[in-house]
Amino acid sequence: MGRTDKQLIADYRSSGDPRILEEIVERHMGNVRAAVYPLVLNDADADDVAQEAMLRILAGLGSFRGSAAFSTWCYRVAVNTALSFLRRQKRRRARFTDADLSDEALEHEDHAPPRQAEVSELNQRITAAMELLPPEQRAALALVAIRGLSERQAAVACQCSFATLRWRLFRARQRLKLELGM
């Protein structure tokens, strides 16, 4: 049985052993990356933002107090980092629209079998619909609908009240259903 996150962090604090960082990265990088993608909606940006978030998490290990689960804290840092990135990139994001989608469509036409092409078409519609949502609503969806956090955990991660989180989720789902014709 491996060590829990809290044990790992305690061991790191006492020993400073850099190998512990590797274990923490291995455990949580996937979650961080997966939480970030629905916010930034771009693979390369998601990699960069996930890296930045993970470095913040590692740099903050000394100040992690354990009032929430470590994984929830990781999501919190990931969401904050992605929202900061989006604010910085607001001007640039306007360019990631039709051209990018048509490029992806071309790739899938070239390389993917028909089944995947259908999935790809649906994925593009979902991406386009997600782009219409405010980032805070995307964050709520990312954590609850995609990552499976409870609404209370997601509220902690998003640093908002439970009611606000539920409202964001409701609005996001409503808008997506409308855009996707569900």
Partner: protein, 261 residues
């Protein structure tokens, strides 16, 4: 559409997760950066992120290869570092700093070029490096132009303040009279075009066209005669209280002043 929305979203998100190899690469990148930052004492810059080639980037690669019939693009991971990790350029005079840096970068690029040349011989047209990422171009025919190393750097500082920061830098080894036309993977709006002609007497005509989109958009078109080894300020731009300089330094791979390779 009968699937519940959350299931659709989970499938959609899963389709954008990196595969195992890409995830390991990302993890390794973070661990390296963390070790530098947390265990070497003092703040260290996060290394320029490496973008794993996504299908879209591969598409750009194909477009690029098709657009340059004579050039086969062997590897693509060039990077506009400005948007991610600007490195400090602490000198009060960026020209003096660049002269010092160029000697080291020149040695490094010559080594890379020579090693690559062992693989491709005179078919090797150019090698471009930015951070620790490189691209190279190989033609289907051999070329005999003298290889030249050129370093391009953009530095910036608040107007009236002496602290320069290096925003972007790249080194290229290209054969004289070869045309380099580079669109960085994942950054379809960025572009570097370069053509150099060796002049007798220890100089080269360097023509460049540069388009970079970062916090600010930088476009520069230059045509300058540069003495070997001398750093020259080829463009100066003032924008919103910030002064930007494009600096270039050029020197032949194997020293000397002759244009014969």
């Amino acid at each position: 559409m009968k699937q519940p929305l959350d299931k659709l979203l989970r499938d959609w998100a899963a389709s954008h997760e990196p595969d195992a190899a890409a995830r390991r690469q990302l993890e390794a990148r973070v661990v390296r950066a963390a070790r530098r930052k947390l265990h070497n004492g003092g703040p260290a810059p996060v290394p320029a992120p490496r973008h794993r080639p996504s299908p879209r980037q591969l598409h750009h690669l194909l477009w690029f290869a098709a657009g340059m019939a004579a050039t086969i693009l062997i590897a693509v991971v060039w990077h506009f570092a400005a948007a991610h990790a600007p490195a400090p350029a602490p000198a009060a005079s960026p020209l003096a700093e660049e002269r010092g840096l160029f000697a080291g970068r020149h040695r490094s690029m010559v080594r890379i070029f020579r090693e690559t040349e062992q693989l491709f011989g005179s078919n090797l047209q150019w090698v471009a490096q930015s951070g620790d990422e490189a691209e190279l171009g190989v033609s289907q025919t051999s070329a005999d132009g003298r290889p030249l190393v050129v370093r391009l750097v953009i530095v910036a500082r608040p107007l009236g303040n002496g602290a320069w920061r290096r925003l972007w830098e790249t080194e290229v080894v290209a054969r004289a009279n070869a045309t380099l036309d580079l669109t960085p993977a994942g950054r379809p709006d960025d572009r570097l075009m370069l053509w150099m002609h060796c002049l007798e007497g220890g100089a080269a005509l360097v023509e460049s066209r540069l388009m970079l989109h970062g916090p600010v958009t930088i476009e520069a078109e230059t045509s300058e005669v540069l003495k070997f080894g001398a750093t020259r300020k080829v463009t100066r731009v003032l924008h919103e209280g910030v002064e930007y300089l494009l600096l270039q330094t050029v020197a032949p791979v194997d020293g000397g002043e002759s244009c014969r390779s």
